[in-house]
Symmetry: none
Subunit: 127 residues, 2 copies
């Protein structure tokens, strides 16, 4: 994580059934490990720290990778997907990272059925 000269805020975050432990680089859902890699964890952490706020890709990027995000860099997207996949594996039906088209992503732990009983499988993007 890129915070030049800064310490990691180390208190655990709890959102819904998800617990995030910065010092341990661990994310737990109802006590079960999500199994995120370091990068994946960082992306989730950055988002979760600003619950319910829309973060631009560039902001997420600079906080995790440091520096300026190159034009058309898809790193953030790819990692968001990886995180989503692993979270979905442990917490089926829940949604945590919401897409804001043309802007970025927003963290909000959303229980199943909230947001409508979608018969469709695909993702829905917020705005």
């Amino acid at each position: 994580m890129h915070q030049p000269g800064g310490h990691e805020n180390s208190f655990a975050l709890v959102h819904g059934n998800l617990e995030i432990r910065p010092e341990e680089i661990q994310a737990l859902v109802d006590g079960r490990r999500v199994g995120l890699t370091v990068r994946e964890f960082q992306v989730l952490l950055v988002l979760a720290r600003r619950e319910d706020h829309v973060l631009r890709r560039g902001d997420i990027y600079s906080q995790v990778w440091g520096g300026q995000m190159k034009h058309r860099d898809r790193s953030v997207d790819v990692f968001v997907r990886k995180v989503r996949t692993k979270l979905a594996h442990v917490a089926p039906g829940w949604a945590y990272i919401h897409t804001h088209f043309g802007v970025g992503y927003r963290f909000a732990a959303t229980p199943p059925s909230a947001g409508g009983s979608n018969i469709a499988i695909g993702n829905v993007s917020d705005r």
Copy 2:
């Protein structure tokens, strides 16, 4: 948004039940997301920044799209309508963007019933 070399004024605006967060490109009505797209949001923002002032189409256009608005370009109108629709969806009865015939638009958060109990459905244009 076109502000060559300029920074986005980033403090939230609040008008009536409407909150506008430039940084997040988010508009909220009583906490509920309006769901505007980036362009739609920009149009609303430009208007809201000059609450109660009538802005000419050309001004709105140049601030959002940049450059000079071409003769008979209806972009502004189309987006005003889109914004109105989405706002109406979340805040029934309220009016935010008022038409000034032959001139342009004016932002003013107006609660229901203010402005008369119109039985008619259509729009009313100010002057």
